[in-house]
């Protein structure tokens, strides 16, 4: 009896054109190199760790994380950076999207122009803008000087440095947001606009009443995508300021790297856990909230 059910199960499995073992190679790589490190990070964040041996120290690493001013700075900077970059990408991307779906000259050229920085090496962009933002010799301030404006010390002024890096992030990433908005706007049936025109709606009304609500999935995608990448951002900040001046542009990801370099593996892993919790507590509710609003509308 038992053997027949088992053999039937086996033969069923053999017969299925969708065998479970198709998951196997991908699953092994994913579990070993992504999932397992993620799960063990919760334990190692509670230890003093040398990679060879670890001693349990409870929540000391986290206590240190929330006690040291420069680590707290990293936390708030991460949030500021994510909010600023994703906010600007949504607004500018939306404007570009509307503009680049309207009947204008050189549309394809402009779309390519805006999108190309997305594909360029982040470190390359970082180095280039570090030079362009040089307080005295940089192209940006020299151009401003032509108009009689005394440009700020973009990357060396502690109160401005984080914002400057965020602006470069927007420059590099807004093309992707734009393309997502274009895809969303193009999918809106033309009939709505025609009907609105017959009813005498102005362009502004059409934007707020048709484009905005119907391009909502695109807006949700851009918000989530850019917010997550903002929280995780590392390359650009590292190649432009290395977290400086002082700790004014440190974010969690750069703190993780610095602590790793300094050999504080437990503390570095605690940084990872903090980032994990931050993303879960912000992005998951945001995801559910935006998703629900989209389905009820």
């Amino acid at each position: 009896m038992e053997t027949t059910t088992i053999s039937r199960a086996i033969s069923n499995r053999m017969k299925s054109p969708y065998p479970g073992w198709f998951y196997l190679p991908a699953a092994v790589i994913f579990v070993v190199l992504f999932l397992m490190p993620m799960l063990t990070s919760f334990y190692f964040s509670l230890t003093r760790w040398t990679l060879f041996e670890s001693s349990f120290i409870g929540l000391d690493n986290f206590a240190q994380f929330f006690r040291e001013p420069f680590l707290i700075k990293g936390l708030t900077n991460t949030l500021i950076y994510a909010v600023v970059t994703s906010g600007l990408k949504v607004i500018i991307g939306m404007l570009f999207g509307v503009f680049l779906t309207s009947r204008i000259m050189a549309r394809t050229y402009l779309r390519s122009l805006v999108f190309f920085p997305v594909l360029v090496s982040t470190v390359g962009v970082g180095i280039t803008f570090t030079v362009l933002m040089h307080p005295t010799h940089g192209l940006i301030n020299e151009s401003l000087a032509v108009f009689g404006i005394d440009g700020p010390a973009w990357l060396t002024d502690p109160s401005l440095a984080l914002l400057s890096v965020a602006l470069v992030d927007v420059w590099k990433g807004v093309g992707l947001a734009t393309m997502i908005f274009i895809a969303g706007i193009v999918s809106i049936p033309k009939e709505y606009y025609e009907a609105a025109k017959i009813e005498g709606a102005t362009a502004t009304q059409q934007f707020w009443r048709i484009t905005m609500p119907l391009a909502r999935p695109a807006t949700v995608t851009v918000i989530l995508l850019s917010f997550i990448s903002g929280l995780r951002s590392f390359d650009l900040i590292w190649s432009m300021t290395r977290g400086g001046p002082g700790f004014t542009t440190d974010v969690i990801a750069s703190v993780i790297y610095k602590q790793y370099q300094a050999g504080f593996y437990g503390l570095s892993t605690a940084g990872n856990v903090v980032l994990f919790l931050l993303i879960s507590t912000i992005v998951v509710p945001l995801f559910i909230f935006l998703d629900r609003k989209a389905t009820t509308q």
Partner: protein, 275 residues
């Protein structure tokens, strides 16, 4: 009247966006062909003399041809990891889309977590070290596969949903096993989304900086993005060489962009319409 306004708007937008988006690239090219003293001024000016060739040779020869080695390493990492990614992700997406079981929700959750969660760096190094893969090219390849799987699975899955099931049934009746069904029937139909996957993922892997920084330190296994980082300190006074380096590593994505613009945009914006 209205059309002339449109004309003014058009010209203005072309000028402004060219200024904002093209000038940084022009700056890279101009600085890359200047001589050392002129490049050090950081000016946006036409070079008094073009040193493109000698700068190129100098960058390539620096540190025992490190850049050439880096290009080779990056090429290997990109080709192998993207090849693996495409096959493995397509297999997962195929079964995940076709077979509904109680595991599906778990797998969906894992795919999503792979997409949004940052990898735990030091524990990953620890695992790699235990496996003897830390600081090896193969280790980095497997890392790129692990981190890229989620995105590829989602892309494939949406596309497989549009392939009618009757096709599978017909193939099975013809006597095709799972392997023949997947490789002979399904995979060829996936060609457009395979191209999209290859292009988007290879640009991503080629431009990856963080993962080689963590998992592949050391000069022998350097990848292109790290040369920039290493040269940044070394070329501190030689901006012409630094920018020649940036220029060189921008060329592969540029080529991809010129040939596969549509696929890249489609792949990266997938899901924007449906949400």
């Amino acid at each position: 009247m209205k059309s002339s306004w449109r004309y003014v708007w058009g010209v203005l937008s072309i000028l402004v966006s060219s200024l904002v988006f093209l000038v940084p690239f022009a700056f890279i090219i101009l600085t890359a062909v200047k001589d050392k003293q002129e490049a050090a001024l950081l000016r946006f000016t036409w070079p008094t003399a073009v040193h493109a060739w000698s700068n190129l040779i100098q960058v390539l020869q620096a540190r025992d041809y490190m850049l050439l080695l880096a290009f080779f390493n990056s090429l290997v990492v990109t080709v192998v990891s993207v090849g693996l990614l495409v096959i493995l992700a397509a297999m997962v997406a195929f079964v995940l889309q076709r077979r509904s079981s109680r595991w599906n929700r778990v797998i969906d959750l894992l795919v999503l977590s792979g997409l949004i969660m940052p990898p735990a760096v030091v524990p990953t190094i620890w695992v790699l070290q235990e496996l003897g893969l830390f600081k090896t090219i193969s280790g980095l390849i497997l890392i790129e596969v692990a981190y890229g799987l989620s995105f590829s699975i989602l892309l494939f899955r949406a596309f497989i949903a549009t392939i009618p099931r009757e096709l599978d049934e017909a193939a099975v009746i013809e006597g095709a096993g799972p392997i023949a069904l997947f490789f002979r029937v399904i995979l060829p139909l996936l060609k457009p989304v395979v191209v999209t996957n290859i292009v988007v993922q290879s640009v991503g892997v080629f431009n990856d900086f963080t993962n080689p920084l963590y998992y592949l330190p050391g000069a022998r296994n350097v990848t292109v993005q790290l040369t920039l980082y290493n040269f940044q300190s070394m070329f501190n006074t030689s901006y012409n060489l630094l920018f020649m380096n940036i220029l060189l590593i921008t060329i592969p994505p540029l080529i991809m962009f010129l040939f596969f613009n549509r696929q890249i945009v489609e792949g990266m914006t997938a899901g924007a319409v449906k949400g």
